[in-house]
Symmetry: C2
Subunit: 485 residues, 2 copies
């Protein structure tokens, strides 16, 4: 690792060169480097916390002047109970994960003596741009080394002292390992982001770790693929069959909204089937109001709640504006929208129910009804149009309605009777998380080490030429025999 | 399918909406649509060939005026023997492939009653921009429908009559199927490419099917991920241990260069270890010259060949310029470069051989020697710096040198004793090919149907909230039990 002040071009070129050495280091060498980083960070805790205290002092001043939010202050503070230990543990957790590199997932015998193999390998050079959290350096260095990728790290100015202290410790620790020093580079100089983002020849993937503004900026200023999500606008839909599972409904909505409202996987929109406005919604609303959540309601849901809640509760309800259904509040606010029931659809539901073709379909009448349930389709359409394709949930007792929702909602996470807050690499059991992606290619949802790998095709022959194969006389035919992996 | 003249925005929006219907169609419905397309194209062969003849007449005129190359003419011609039948067969081949959608590759029990599943699904909306080949419309429509993706197709002007005829036939065929008409849209109007490339909100992946210029243009003008390759600069390295397998060396180089020189997977650079300049290279060079290949040689290889070849052969040798090692000739030309042997490295090789650490390493002395063989590293470094990361090959009798090469060369295809021409979806046994990707994320190498899919995470619970889990007292722990898929 080097704490570099060289030009972005030099930095990217040397990282690219180093990636060619790093990519072939055996697991034992990569793991030894993680052990060395862990030991060094453990031994230098006081030095690093002292540097962090300097950042915190400056941040408190900025906060007092209204230039820095409380949440940034909180993220910056490495001295919070357990935080430093979590960082240390995270390195060992990554070390102890299975090797993501060298996994063979396809083997085909193309012909006698000609075997094809697809094997996982590192992507190459990662650019990680992050904001306040200083522990991200250790975290991302560990992930990059474990997956055999070189990384260029650029931290935010609030964490510059912590960042530099951690960088020096990691740099010193890596010097005694087989990881080349240019494989992990920490960029200190300011205003280099745009230059780095233009170096798509050397940098293969950008991972912005920070708020919406940072992610949007990165996405708008580079041709390098970006892994991440700008927004986390998650929804929960209370289906008409949620009436039988009211407790679940309350639990799922409460956890989705209140467990950690500032998280990307917190719910921002509550869709409610018309028929449960007075059965399920009042309990859900009362619980939310009790926790201080502001409910921004459409006309129907506000009217229904007005009748069912106490006067003092009802007085807290707000009117939703159209833009509330496109807003990531990241706060104790939720937008509530009524999904019209079937009887609103000008008899369409009845028409479907009596449609001989549908009723006699092999899917069974309940499935067929759900498949053509216009209110379910309306909820799905709302989510596909307004959600950020992060994580969306349906609360229902109906398995067929749930499965329809899970198939048709175009989001990284589609949940049935479970809080949107489960969208997380640790909770999914990936051991660690690079970030959460709302991309439609490569990696989607919580991204573990696997997201930092790609594959290559290895073909081993005995002098074979492609011209020998074909349909004509004297031509060889491919065997295409699948071999065990 | 619709042959649209609506605005690019309307086109992309309606394709996006249609993708939400298409993505949940069962395999039987998608396959039925492919059968319908096949039947219709079979029945309307004469109409389509008549339209193609019009394109050919215009193209011949353009060619006579020097405005169109012979290779474009050839690609445009649907009446060439077997070409129409190949197009028809391709549709049934795609139909008969396994369903790429709905494959579960991860199942984890997070807790009792809380199960996570990762399942493959369509990407969404594809934009395919292609040049002369009119059969690409049928091909890509089949791939898109099979994989549940909507597609917007934009063809080149040379194939406009063929394109329109095929489009009408496919459109009519699809009208009787469950595939929504906006799912496959054919854009006729000119000058819409830039507008389409800007619609990253609705279009998820661009696949340019055409020459280097088209691919570069697309890559430079969009934020939508692009699947493909601009260049195919492939290399073959004749390792020092190629002397024992001279016949293989000749066969691999000849097939790589001469089987189809205009292909992206043809070899453009021949690297030669110094020690085989007079043993293996002369036979290889004689065979290449015999087929009319121009050899652009560096000083050492030219001198060695000058001694070994006949005078008339040697007279054909050309001098390489530096840019030849960065040129995709797509023609009967190959750049030849000598890789210095160990004795040139100022005793470095000897120093390595006597290094106690290396000699006693558990890798074994032969492996260790290869791992530190400076000439092998030099060949790998040349390829990593100059190749287009498409497909590169080593010819050697040494397994350890070959494995080192396969691991360290950063290309989609890394071959040992096999022609670079094998880099192809059909040859790999994928049944069909969307294209060949030199991307470092998502899909690399020949891309089959799998490259048109992504996955989503489905989580099914019973009202679970994430706040119930943790390390504290009364908190639940995750089980993270892997289930069979």
């Amino acid at each position: 690792m080097s704490l570099t002040s060289s030009s972005p071009l030099t930095c990217a070129q040397s990282a690219s060169l180093a990636s060619h050495t790093l990519c072939i280091l055996p697991l034992s060498s990569r793991n030894a480097a993680l052990t060395a980083i862990h030991t060094a960070l453990q031994e230098n805790k006081s030095v690093i916390l002292a540097a962090n205290a300097t950042d915190m002092t400056l941040a408190h001043q900025a906060s007092a002047n209204g230039q820095l939010s409380q949440s940034v202050l909180k993220r910056l503070d490495l001295s919070r109970p357990g935080k430093y230990e979590d960082m240390l543990k995270g390195i060992l957790d990554v070390r102890d994960l299975p090797d993501p590199i060298g996994r063979v997932d396809l083997r085909t015998k193309l012909d006698e003596g000609l075997e094809l193999e697809r094997v996982s390998c590192p992507i190459g050079v990662l650019l990680i741009i992050f904001e306040a959290r200083p522990e991200v350096i250790a975290n991302i260095s560990a992930l990059a080394i474990k997956s055999g990728n070189a990384a260029i790290l650029k931290g935010g100015k609030e964490s510059s002292h912590s960042f530099e202290a951690i960088a020096r410790v990691i740099s010193h620790a890596l010097a005694g390992t087989e990881v080349p020093s240019d494989a992990i580079q920490l960029v200190k100089t300011r205003d280099v982001i745009d230059d780095l983002l233009s170096l798509d020849r050397y940098i293969d993937l950008v991972i912005p770790r920070g708020g919406n503004e940072l992610v949007r900026y990165v996405k708008d200023h580079t041709k390098i693929p970006v892994l991440g999500h700008a927004d986390g606008l998650c929804s929960v839909y209370l289906h008409k069959d949620a009436a039988d599972i009211k407790t679940m409904a309350v639990n799922v909505v409460m956890d989705s909204k209140c467990d950690y409202p500032a998280a990307c996987n917190a719910a921002e929109t509550l869709l409610v089937h018309e028929s449960v406005l007075t059965t399920v919604l009042p309990d859900v609303a009362a619980a939310l109001l009790d926790k201080g959540v502001s409910l921004r309601c459409d006309v129907k849901s506000k009217a229904a709640l007005g009748e069912c809640l106490t006067k003092s509760q009802a007085a807290l309800l707000q009117d939703a504006r159209a833009e509330d259904y496109d807003t990531e509040f990241l706060d104790l606010i939720i937008a509530v929208k009524t999904v019209p029931g079937e009887h609103d659809e000008a008899g369409q539901s009845q028409a479907l129910a009596t449609n001989g073709h549908v009723a006699s379909s092999e899917e069974g009448s309940s499935d067929a009804r759900d498949a053509h349930d216009p209110s379910l389709l309306a909820a799905i359409a709302h989510i596909n149009a307004h959600s950020s394709h992060h994580t969306d949930c349906i609360v229902t007792a109906s398995a067929s309605a749930a499965e329809k929702f899970l198939s048709a909602v175009d989001s990284a996470g589609v949940y049935w009777n479970a809080s949107t807050r489960f969208a997380d690499g640790m909770r999914y059991g990936f051991g660690t998380e690079v970030g959460i992606s709302t991309n439609k290619i490569h990696s989607r949802g919580p991204v573990g080490l696997e997201g930092l790998t790609i594959y290559k095709y290895k073909l081993r022959g005995k002098g074979h030429g492609a011209g020998e194969y074909g349909d004509g006389e004297g031509k060889r035919r491919y065997l295409h025999e699948k071999l065990e992996v």
